[in-house]
Symmetry: C2
Subunit: 335 residues, 2 copies
Amino acid sequence: MGLSTACAAEPLPRFGLVLHGGAGVIERQNMPPGREAEIRQQLNEALAAGYQVLAKGGPAIEAVAATINVLEDSPLFNAGRGAVLNAAGQCELDASIMNGNTLAAGAVAGLQHIKNPINLARDVMTKSSHVMLIGEGAEQFAQSLGYALVPNEYFQTEFRREQLKKIQAREKAAQTGVRHTSDYFDRQSRWGTVGCAALDQQGNLAAGTSTGGMANKKYGRVGDAPIIGAGNYANNATCALSATGDGEYFMRLNVAHDVSAQMEYRGVPLHTAAAASIAKVGKLGGTGGVVAIDRQGNIAMEFNSLGMYRAAHLAGQPAFVAIYRDEKIPENFSR
Amino acid sequence: MGLSTACAAEPLPRFGLVLHGGAGVIERQNMPPGREAEIRQQLNEALAAGYQVLAKGGPAIEAVAATINVLEDSPLFNAGRGAVLNAAGQCELDASIMNGNTLAAGAVAGLQHIKNPINLARDVMTKSSHVMLIGEGAEQFAQSLGYALVPNEYFQTEFRREQLKKIQAREKAAQTGVRHTSDYFDRQSRWGTVGCAALDQQGNLAAGTSTGGMANKKYGRVGDAPIIGAGNYANNATCALSATGDGEYFMRLNVAHDVSAQMEYRGVPLHTAAAASIAKVGKLGGTGGVVAIDRQGNIAMEFNSLGMYRAAHLAGQPAFVAIYRDEKIPENFSR
């Protein structure tokens, strides 16, 4: 008998996921009553949607999409329904997804009528020969695949309309003569990108990011979310990662690829790499964060903002959901 | 006397630039008569425009724009005038630029009426708080700065109209039922992005890339040229680089940032890093190349295609202009 019996505990399969619902000026004293519980519940739901896929042996890319769909459909986050409004009062959505096993990637930007932008990004990855499609062209591609277009009003919420009014009133009041700066913007209102990084039972990594971008944005501004290597990256050789924050800084530093590159070329662990990249963002003057997972199931939830909506669930461990900076991940969470 | 006299040769100021006008299936036997001389002359003109800026002590970012303007204005390259046509018979232009001293960056995509896209990318960098603007929004931003919009016909040449007809006829003939693949595309016709990387006398690096993208492109396809970290990157700590080739592969590998990251994290020289990144592109199935320069004035012109329009001029050395693979850069060119 001895060795052939299953008396020793089998090592747990290594799989799991980590997500974010945006980083920013998130503090206990500013959280509207009741909102915190709602947010935690939505983060839990999104986490469960992705975890179920992984627990059944499904692919990481599927888990990422399932998780992000929940966050896109929730009005609480700046992605899909509930996205911020641009200067013209419309929602304009960006998303990207990447498969760490093949380095295949898909991205879309400037969508106005696609209910779940992450799904279209995934179809760009798997059903086109391209990586990035933008604007009306991307929506034509969606229609060629049978997508129904939704009216832009589907995405718009009363909360975001009020937010835009406030921002625009303040912008008008604060006419300083300085052109095209974002100083007037409520920093809290600018963020809220959602994202997810997952490791499946086959050992494959994937990451996705979806956003409405920056409130009151003008001129077809695109941030880091749909930029492969800036707001999103996945490579089985290193990690899968999704970012949120001051998109322009994440673009200039190629944050998502920078974390991956540090693991590949410096040989440092995920957490060290993520902390170093976020430190670079801070040094350049930006704020935000990343969530990431590597092939061993180590995770990172690194941010330099006051808070970040975040959650993680690794096989054999309890789910972790957090909002504020002082909520620490359990020591033994990382495998 | 002795030490105080200027009898010893002063070390030459280290400045210079390197450019490309696209990589692809470029072979002697396929070059139309007379075309080669025209191309070499235009590459020389572009090189001289940038070199003049540097020789006068001007900034690298200025030299990059001056060089790229010549290539954009020439009908011979796939950028600005002479750009390839999209599936609808229109020119759709993308560009990006980056300042290695500040890591400031600007990018534009999907332009139809801006004569010199690299200039608008530069204005996005210096006159907006954003990194990337797309489509009509980007053109509205241009108008707010006083840009005149040019009719799309300005960009269109008879050569590109013929090319599109051929590609579309072949696409129609080759109805294989496979959707959205690029197998029908003439590989030679897909490329032609232009770009430049420069080092100025102050030791600052800059890089820029401008393109019409892929002939017969659909659905608002965006390639690597306007993606910071994919088709373009500049960092005084490492190098300035512009890429050309199968954009989708350069995006998935973040080629421009990958070269920079190898120098930063592996500590390898520019040429080693560039060769390793292009080898990755080849391994994934892509072709193309990069031109790059570092702060010591070392340059790289690395490609895995049959040819690449390329040129370089470093202070104190003769200008180098080449088209075919077998044209080797002089051994002593790299300082």
